[in-house]
């Protein structure tokens, strides 16, 4: 993922209203703007604006179905970020822990 693309993802995720919309799509995928507005205190315009930011970050994908535009959650950018950061920072730590475990267990068995 390019640096600016992951910037867009982090910025999009930084807003609680947008995370809430992602949670709603995670619960029920493929919703229209009207579906997503139901039960929210946000205005329709605010929801549309947040959806546009989520789409620009590729976290939401929309598909036309007849007269409606349905919104789908796209987990790929989050997955790419997880790989990028887990492999960079967590992996050495996990490797160190398993090396420690091996060495301790080895000593116990010797």
């Amino acid at each position: 993922m390019q640096a600016d693309a992951s910037d867009d993802v982090f910025k999009a995720l930084a807003d609680p209203s947008r995370r809430r919309l992602l949670d709603r799509l995670h619960a029920t995928d493929g919703q229209s703007l009207g579906d997503l507005c139901a039960g929210l205190t946000m205005t329709r315009q605010a929801v549309a604006k947040h959806l546009a930011i989520l789409e620009a970050a590729n976290l939401v994908v929309s598909k036309r179905k007849g007269r409606e535009k349905l919104h789908f959650i796209n987990p790929i950018p989050i997955h790419e970020i997880a790989e990028r950061w887990i492999s960079k920072f967590d992996q050495p730590r996990l490797s160190a822990l398993s090396a420690l475990k091996r060495s301790l267990e080895g000593e116990n068995h010797d």
Binding site: Q2, A5, T28, D29, G30, Q31, S32, D35, N58, V61, K63, K65, L70, F72, N74, P75, I76, H79, E80, E83, S87
Partner: protein, 151 residues
């Protein structure tokens, strides 16, 4: 309203490559094996041709038929799970992969859907695709995958 009688997901990834190169990555069995967690594809690459995915031990994971074959643009598969009886019982699903040049790369859209509500098949495949697509992107852009086999 959402489709009450349909389950689907739409996944999108952007890969820095050309449509031709990405297309080859989708249909070359040796390349597929590298990013599809060691599974192999066997297919007659034409509309109406047979298609299947084999686990590393040779068992058939999924099989079906090619329903769209437009090189560099669109691949459609009528997809039946052969691995788990409860997923097989749901019948055929449709998986479409669409390629579209965007800037210096290609937008790859994978849509997988089935004509039934709360599909277990769609739930199962939706968990696998993010890893496969990330592996594919990483393999094309950097020459290596994140995870070669399922842990």
């Amino acid at each position: 309203m959402t489709d009450a009688d349909k389950s689907s997901f739409v996944y999108v990834t952007f890969v820095k490559t050309t449509p031709d190169r990405l297309w080859d990555a989708l249909i070359d069995p040796d390349f597929v094996e590298q990013y599809w967690l060691g599974n192999r594809i066997e297919a007659e690459w034409k509309v109406g041709g047979s298609w299947k995915i084999l686990f590393p031990d040779g068992r058939v994971a999924d099989r079906g038929e090619i329903v769209a074959f437009e090189p560099g643009e669109r691949l459609g598969i009528r997809w039946l799970n052969e691995w788990k009886p409860e997923l097989n019982a749901e019948g055929y699903s449709i998986c479409t992969m669409e390629l579209e040049p965007v800037g210096e790369g290609v937008k790859l859209t994978v849509t997988h859907s089935i004509e039934r509500a709360d599909s277990k098949l769609i739930a199962a495949v939706s968990g696998g695709w993010p890893l496969i697509l990330s592996n594919l992107k990483s393999l094309i852009e950097t020459g290596s995958v994140f995870m070669a086999r399922k842990a």
